[in-house]
Symmetry: C2
Subunit: 722 residues, 2 copies
């Protein structure tokens, strides 16, 4: 008892000290408290006089072990602080400040001598903390039963969330108070899931979870640096408004195998009373380890076109070379079977895209359906579905390699694994060597379906290690990775910047598969993008698929205006941006297409001008190494009126701005292709009133003018655009 | 009904024709009958006037499908025959005759139009048959529920068998009538299992299953060419004496995922009224596909010594470099932790073995414990246990590479995977490249423990593909594979001759871990070795482990005499033979060690002189490319008296024979190291009376004499040796 109370007093001192220290170093609004009550550790987070998280449990339960469920005391606490600036290989900004106060609390179970550390880092814009399992005589390897981590919100918040699922993040978002999720998730989200979904249970939600409080607070909960650990989802107590950890199990129910000396990922809570701060937060990147590579010169942001959208628009184009469903990759002699005549990845068609890319400054062309195995979709029931080093007979690898190289265009490899991660690893070296031998420097990977090894889910520990393994191995070959249907990102692109983008949410493809709500792109940056860039594949000019009369099958109308598609190149931050529509559609709207030609994919600076989750986002970004800015705004089904003041421009300089805005009568349902383009001079402090139509948006390019002669005939941009 | 009866009549005709054709081509003793009764196909196998297998069901049940459970008719039948001779890359004989009559029966489910073929091949010494699933409109990918294959023995046989298990074949054998297995398996086998055992259920036995009938018949049931399929075990009906297929599931219960166009492995039934014919049978090799490699010059049979037995004899030698159980391969800096001083794989110790090998014509030295990861045994609970390209600090890879090469010795790599096949595949390319870079041309792989991927067992479909993947990938690097704890072999070494040996049964190591019964080596060639060579690791001269006073822990006495250890180099056929004991023990018995120096590992001819499962085996083999013969005899606990007639020697030639036999008072328990050596001239027709002590055996080398002068002073070998 003496020791216990001693530790408590010591703890109280440390916490007080640490709390004070923390408060002193940042802008002072966030305050962390850590305490133990009846052997159970808790933390609490306050924002000024508002409580963000009330007394919230910490701890870990282990399988077949006593674990850290109770009887803990604080053995000691240490504080530290950091203020450093680092340069991302690519990013929204050129410099990132990593500024936090740290509190390391060492917990002890006195009668077992079992130790557990929790490291907290308090930033101006939020909190990160993780469990650290010190090496110790009574703990060696162990199996996680569950993290006991809680996020005690204490009152009802409006959540922007998806149902918890072990296999997919491809749901539409539910926007509803926590108290109504029980009814709203099935209505808003659950019906819009991808087919591999494996529910984590009722009232479980995924992270990143965006919350908006009646108290004016915006709170985002996620994790950083998901390495060798199960992904985090959250149970929702919709009466007490307490969230608690629900780690993704494997199919045997195991939530992770760990060894003393390891650490959990960081649990992150980004907080502000201004939604724009959530989007601007670099907290998750800061909590990841620095870049693991000495040389990153081979990693380059890029735009890419692709043999892709034509598979979705209902014109009967096929990934498969033939209709011979008994085909077996590596066994069947494809040269001897009858082609179906609808194959997309033919040498000629790919050349068409290469020509398009070369003519418009697009760096690369993705080609899907180039390799053996697309004749059926028997994922999970086949131990080998695709070959990654064997092209279909009508896709001439060498010829296209030379054709593309001569035009300065790269071909982006596609590795659809059918979620057979085991077989992908089996083929990985051959696949990457094949890529290196044929001039490929980027791959889009896919994990559609149920996972093989058949013990795993998309977010279980083994799979989380798999994704990183692929990315690291790709780096050995100078290859960038764009993973689709992988676990949602947690900022690991800082450590592995060749993990250039991920999908891991409902992207543009779903506009042709059930649709995305009009507010989808106003939520994604607050949720999915908190962990890293998304390959959202914007740029769909022809969103009404009934346009494709011939072979018409789909009735989908993408929930977007054409102008908003331009905006997404800014609002959906990614160093990898697809130019997703067909070349012929861009030819029809060549004036609007100019924005896509112009827009950058890497940035020195980013300013979130306006933001409200579920409603609108407006961001301005300065292109890497230039004085040119690009602005994008995306709005929900109600539209949005912006009043922008260009006070981020350099004083004394003159710029020419081009605004691509919805026409006054534009509407995402009835009139999506109506846009206006306005061009004129702007300077620092210029004001702009621009209206985004319902489901619409706008984009602005602002080029610094170095030669005043070029301004001849260019008038000032009108203040009111549309 | 018309069609059905038509098919039945056609079938009856074909079967009659095929049966007749089959009978005509071989020695006429085996007869196959195939018929359909009430929609269910059956086969029957007779040996002269003795029924081997009575009416035995054929068929396949599929998950979630009607499958082939009933309503089948015979649509057609085709017969063919083959008589060819092929040369194995290595083997017991230089030439193998592949001589069979074939009956292909095409079954049809008329109302579903579903097709199933069964291909039978009848050899002089047995039957092989497999299921073939033709490509067809109503069958694409499917999941196996169970094979319905039966082996209807019809009466009680004495079985030499192991309990069915999904994870291990490391049981002692049960010898008992089928009717008594229920009591005898728990008594004789189940207590002697390795720790990863996962029972397949009561009254399930493994194959190869050896049977001896009161009718004088010897029957061996196994499978050939286990590729992309679950391993076969057998349910025993101990009242009707019917065996039925029990395919190994994965942990989800799936018994295999298949695609139309595939085939099952061959189900093999080797039959004779002379037990020696079972051992001499090449039926299983013949049913495998020919060698898959164009160039096999790099594949070489060999003897090897190793840093190995010293880990088992209780002297405290350690695979691990340190006692630091929190060590993490690839993370921990081993150079900074304290060595335990008991590590076996040190540069100096390995040099000692290299010197020993070089001095005695031994090709290679295995080194276990050379790589990071041995500090604990947390298999299954770690996602990475070992690194395969990182040596411990006291194992100097480069220095040993040069030291061995200068002495003409190879080092054999060791890859203990801890049954983490997933991580092994992840590291495979690096591991093989590391080997190739450092002059290694052979690897001993190990799969101790529960399998990762955690959905798999050692014999489930995915793992069976894994083993082949490793072997094929090894071939790309010119590497031979000796797999331990893998699924038992099925003759795939014909197709992949760099799969130079396997363990897959209870080897010599168990003499120091609970013991092997004295008759163990009289059963293994009738069971485990039917599928391919075994790395049994013979050559233990010091079998009483109490000899190692210092640090003495074990009380084990190997159930063998010293002389029998020599015999095993002949009776346990393998192109890879370990010289397993410590160099210093061979120095103590240098005269006996001469046999190990002399004995070959590749053969032009083999003659099984005497054989009775569970009692004794005597074999003579002619060394590849020479006129020299080597004889080995192993006996059970009762010993065995041989009267050999050397009528396999060339007429007119003179030979010098050396007999290494148990001394008259030798006994495997009380006097195992008592042996006599007799040397003298022999010629074709010479007779020898040699006695194998209880648990003993003998070995004979017979060298052809080309220079008569060398015979001066050599007398005729006495007829009675001991």
């Amino acid at each position: 008892m003496l020791a216990k109370s001693f530790f408590l007093r010591l703890a109280a001192t440390c916490i007080f000290l640490a709390g004070a220290a923390v408060a002193g170093a940042h802008d002072g609004r966030l305050r962390l408290t850590v305490e133990v009550e009846q052997g159970i550790p808790y933390y609490r987070l306050d924002f000024g006089d508002r409580c963000v998280l009330g007394k919230s449990r910490l701890g870990v339960a282990l399988c077949n072990e006593r674990g850290y469920v109770g009887d803990l005391v604080i053995a000691s606490a240490e504080s530290a602080s950091c203020d450093e600036t680092w340069q991302p290989v690519w990013g929204e900004v050129a410099q990132i400040r990593n500024h936090y106060n740290e509190l390391l609390v060492r917990f002890l179970q006195p009668d077992s001598s079992r130790k557990l550390d929790v490291r907290f880092r308090l930033f101006d814009d939020g909190l990160g903390f993780r469990y650290e399992f010190p090496e110790q005589p009574t703990l060696h390897v162990f199996e996680m039963q569950e993290e006991l981590t809680e996020f005690n919100l204490g009152h009802d918040y409006t959540a922007f969330c998806m149902p918890g699922d072990y296999d997919t993040s491809e749901f539409t978002y539910t926007t509803a108070p926590l108290s109504r999720l029980r009814e709203e998730i099935p209505r808003q989200s659950a019906a819009h899931k991808s087919y591999e979904a494996k529910s984590a249970g009722d009232l479980v939600v995924q992270t990143p979870l965006m919350l908006k409080g009646a108290n004016g607070l915006y709170v985002n909960i996620h994790e950083a640096a998901l390495v060798d650990y199960a992904a985090l989802e959250l149970n929702v107590d919709d009466e007490r408004f307490v969230l608690s950890a629900n780690l993704m199990p494997d199919r045997n129910g195991s939530k992770g195998f760990l060894q003393a000396g390891c650490r959990s990922p960081w649990r992150t809570v980004v907080v502000s009373d201004d939604a724009r701060d959530i989007l601007a937060s670099k907290l998750i990147l800061n909590l990841n380890e620095p870049c693991a590579y000495a040389d990153t010169s081979w990693i380059r942001p890029m735009k890419f076109a692709g043999v892709w959208w034509e598979y979705f628009i209902g014109i009967g184009r096929s990934w498969a070379y033939s209709d011979y469903s008994d085909a077996k990759p590596g066994v069947t002699d494809y040269a001897r079977i009858t082609p179906n005549g609808r194959h997309g990845a033919t040498t000629d068609n790919v050349k068409r895209y290469i020509d398009f890319a070369a003519a418009n400054g697009i760096d690369a062309v993705l080609v899907e359906g180039w390799n053996e195995g697309w004749e059926d979709w028997s994922a999970y029931t086949k131990n080998r579905h695709f070959l990654f080093d064997k092209a279909y007979p009508d896709f001439d690898v060498e010829e296209l390699q030379h054709y593309a190289a001569e035009r300065g265009v790269r071909i982006m490899m596609h590795h659809e694994t059918a979620a057979n991660a085991a077989d992908y690893e089996r083929q990985l070296e051959n696949a990457f060597r094949f890529m290196a031998d044929h001039g490929y420097n980027a791959v889009k990977t896919g994990y559609v379906g149920r996972i093989i090894p058949r013990s795993e889910y998309h977010g279980s520990q083994w799979m989380n290690n798999h994704y990183i393994h692929v990315v690291r191995r790709a780096a050995d070959y100078g290859i960038m990775v764009n993973s689709h249907e992988a676990v949602r990102p947690t900022g690991l692109c800082r450590t592995y910047p060749n993990w250039i983008a991920q999908e891991s949410a409902r992207g543009t493809e779903f506009e042709a598969m059930g649709g995305n709500p009009a507010d989808h792109t106003t939520i994604l940056p607050f949720t999915r993008l908190m962990g890293g860039p998304m390959d959202y594949t914007p740029g769909i000019f022809q969103g009404d698929l009934s346009y494709y009369k011939e072979g018409f099958k789909h009735h989908e109308q993408a929930a977007t205006t054409l102008a908003r598609q331009l905006a997404l190149y800014c609002t959906m931050y990614s160093p990898l941006q697809m130019v997703a529509d067909l070349p012929e559609n861009y030819a029809r709207f060549d004036d609007a297409f100019q924005f896509i030609r112009d827009v950058a994919v890497d940035w020195d600076d980013s300013r979130y001008l306006e933001a409200e989750p579920g409603d609108y986002i407006t961001v301005a970004r300065r292109a890497k190494g230039t004085g040119n800015w690009f602005i994008g705004c995306t709005a929900d089904e109600n539209g949005h009126s912006s009043r922008l003041r260009l006070d981020f421009l350099d004083p004394g300089k003159i710029y020419v701005a081009t605004v691509y805005a919805d026409a006054p009568d534009a509407h995402y349902r009835s009139n999506p292709q109506a846009y206006v383009i306005r061009r004129g001079r702007v300077t620092r402090g210029s004001q702009l009133a621009i209206h985004a139509a319902p489901g619409g948006g706008y984009a602005v390019s602002i080029f610094e003018v170095s030669d005043p002669a070029s301004l001849r005939g260019v008038k000032n941009l009108p203040t009111k655009i549309n």
